[in-house]
């Protein structure tokens, strides 16, 4: 393509990154929020009770059993999700009766009030789940089209990551030379630093993303080599699942879950229960699986103890044997999803995800920054392509976060009884994004950056206040109560708002110094040609120019 290998790869890196950069930004941002999707859902259902401190696991299990006897009668299987550091409510989940025309019913979770063992009526919302599912499912699109589109973008991301490493001669020494200058070197260094700092993460998240749809993307090869039965067998070998018990049809009364949990605890010697799955409840074959918090990265290995619900007999044989390739594949899933992560590791995931998002953003901005001096010299103004990239950058990099804030606003402001409320939350998010993508078309780019950054800082800082006006789960309540799950969400919003305000300030400083450099006024030209002033190289004349120089961008 170009003279040298490195130059060819640079070309490839630039264009591959640009073509899908905005979709990747969307995927990275919504995916990063996924690391807190349970926390987000809890915030989006303010009817849920506050954290209840110091309840024993045994008491919770019996509460849940009591609840299931009434509300989950007749289901084949249900889960009890215990309060955790991520979601501090007790929840019961099961597959509901299928809607007409559907094969399987939807899996829904019900929040149980720990104190009264009553059902908590929550507002209809897509919650964090809908938001994070967008990162691979997109929205408004057929699933298979979404998966292929996402696969295409991810493949180009993998290319961008690897070519990025190749074109980077001194990957480690460069990392330590951050030139905090404005303009091109600054943006380039930011892009490099953000890329290198989390390089293993960027590679892992991209490659594992492709593995999620391995048999779809590499379908030609897998279909060629296996028939349907062989394929099923192969999948079973890669993703071993616990054997599920069939009900015998003979009703029997289950023992209390708390007494059965004693058996699990004897096996573990710790009280670290995450969830419980009840198979064939109230049947002579009833099996209760106690699953411990995953601390192992081997996905789904979830250390479980299974007992018979009637006799309390310990059932073995639910261990999953992984093949070597299965461990690699499941290990990548686990690394991608971070299910094993505790609070600290989860924050590390979140911040690393944001670094990835910022890497994409800085790459996109770099594309325009590099071309700007040349584009600005053009007599008819910058090219259409350049303008388009610039607008998409502003509308996505700042527009999408505002749109996500709009999703949260919709959650608080739409009437609770509204029909299709959950869907409308999403509509409002995308309408907002569309408007913010259009806005830079009618404004000069420099102004649009500043205005959207300002809007972003305002909407994020105001959101906890809107929360305080519309719900009783605001900082004034959550902080004294020690509900860090809910308080953390509001505090994070404020921190994000402040970050946007800071970004706006930095952007303004950069723009002012750029304007000063690019657009010398008549007097400054005279000065520089007529006399060699010793002040010429000092920043002082720049300051004067800032005031007189017009807005060029």
């Amino acid at each position: 393509m170009k003279d040298t290998f490195r130059q060819s790869m640079k070309w490839l890196h630039t264009w591959v990154g640009l073509v899908v950069g905005w979709v990747l930004f969307f995927m990275f941002l919504t995916g990063t929020l996924g690391y807190f999707y349970q926390e987000i859902t809890r915030w989006m259902q303010p009817e849920r009770p506050l954290i209840v401190h110091e309840v024993s696991t045994e008491a919770l299990l019996d509460r849940a059993q009591q609840f299931a006897e009434i509300h989950a009668k007749g289901v084949d299987e249900y889960d009890i999700l215990l309060p955790s550091s991520r979601d501090q409510n007790l929840r019961l989940g099961w597959r509901h009766a299928p809607e007409p025309g559907k094969k399987r019913g939807r899996y829904k979770q019900t929040v149980v009030d720990i104190e009264s063992a009553e059902n908590v009526a929550t507002r209809e919302t897509g919650g964090g789940r809908t938001l994070y599912r967008m990162h691979y499912r997109l929205h408004y699109m057929d699933t298979s089209i979404s998966y292929w589109l996402v696969g295409f973008c991810t493949m180009l991301m993998l290319l961008a990551v690897i070519t990025g490493v190749v074109i980077h001669k001194k990957i480690f020494s460069d990392f330590f030379t951050f030139r905090a200058k404005k303009g091109l070197p600054g943006w380039l260094d930011s892009h490099n630093a953000l890329s290198v700092i989390a390089l293993p993460f960027h590679f892992m998240i991209t490659y594992s993303g492709l593995l999620f749809f391995l048999f779809m993307y590499m379908g030609v090869s897998s279909n060629f080599q296996t028939n349907d039965d062989e394929f099923k067998e192969m999948r079973k070998e890669i993703f071993p699942r616990s054997a599920h018990v069939e009900p015998a049809g003979i009703p029997a009364e289950m023992r209390s879950f708390s007494s059965l949990y004693d058996i699990a605890q004897q096996q573990w010697q710790t009280d670290n229960l995450r969830y419980v799955t009840v198979h064939a409840p109230n049947d002579i074959n009833a099996q209760i699986a106690f699953v411990r918090n995953e601390t192992d990265i081997t996905y789904n290995q979830g250390d479980e103890v299974v007992v018979n619900g009637i006799s309390g007999e310990l059932i073995s044989g639910n261990h999953k044997d992984y093949t070597v390739s299965g461990v690699i594949h499941n290990g990548f899933y686990s690394l991608h999803e971070g299910q094993f992560a505790g609070t600290l590791a989860r924050w590390v995931y979140f911040i690393t995800g944001l670094i990835g998002t910022a890497m994409i953003a800085s790459g996109l901005v770099l594309w325009t920054t590099k071309r700007k001096p040349q584009q600005m010299k053009k007599l008819n103004g910058p090219d259409f392509g350049y303008r388009l990239v610039e607008q998409l950058n502003i509308g996505t990099i700042v527009g999408l976060p505002i749109a996500i804030a709009a999703y949260f606003y919709a959650n608080r402001l739409l009437p609770v009884t509204m029909e299709n409320r959950g869907e409308w939350e999403v509509h409002i998010m995308f309408i907002t994004w569309a408007l913010l993508l259009l806005y830079p078309a009618i404004r000069p780019a420099g102004k649009a950056w500043l205005e959207q950054l300002q809007l972003a800082s305002i909407v994020f800082i105001l959101l906890p206040m809107v929360n305080a006006l519309t719900t009783d789960k605001h900082l004034g309540v959550t902080l004294p109560h020690g509900d860090w799950n809910l308080a953390g969400f509001d505090l994070t919003l404020i921190a994000v708002g402040i970050s946007f305000a800071f970004a706006r300030y930095k952007m303004k400083v950069i723009q002012q110094s750029n304007n000063a450099r690019r657009k010398p006024t008549k007097s400054s030209i005279e000065r520089s040609t007529n006399r060699k002033s010793p002040l010429e190289n000092t920043p002082k004349p720049d300051l004067v120019l800032t005031k007189t120089g017009g807005d060029t961008v």
Partner: protein, 103 residues
């Protein structure tokens, strides 16, 4: 006809870029597939058929990446096409030969 050909401006470097993109996308995917078949045949006796297939598929994305990078590093689009076709044929022939040995 000649008018149409003129209109298309086949000598335009854009076409060469377009052709190279096609070579990288299609030839690269074909190479990911053929390499996965070859890897299966190579590993089959060691780790069994299913694991062999699985490993071949998982490595496919990396092969694809390498193929695309290679296609953009050579001097002309024609070379990219020829190289990828050649490598695909070699992989498929080796796969076929190993299939005879394995069965």
């Amino acid at each position: 006809m000649s008018y149409l050909l003129n209109k298309l401006q086949l000598a335009n470097p854009r076409w060469s870029v377009f052709s190279r993109i096609l070579a990288a996308a299609l030839g690269g995917y074909a190479l990911a597939t053929s390499s996965s078949l070859l890897i299966t045949q190579l590993l089959m006796s060691l780790v069994g058929k299913y694991q062999g297939i699985h490993i071949g598929l998982m490595l496919g994305f990396l092969v694809y990446t390498g193929a695309v990078m290679w296609a953009f590093s050579v001097t002309t689009a024609t070379r990219a096409w020829l190289g990828l076709v050649k490598l695909n044929v070699i992989f498929l022939l080796l796969t076929w030969a190993l299939m005879q040995v394995n069965s």
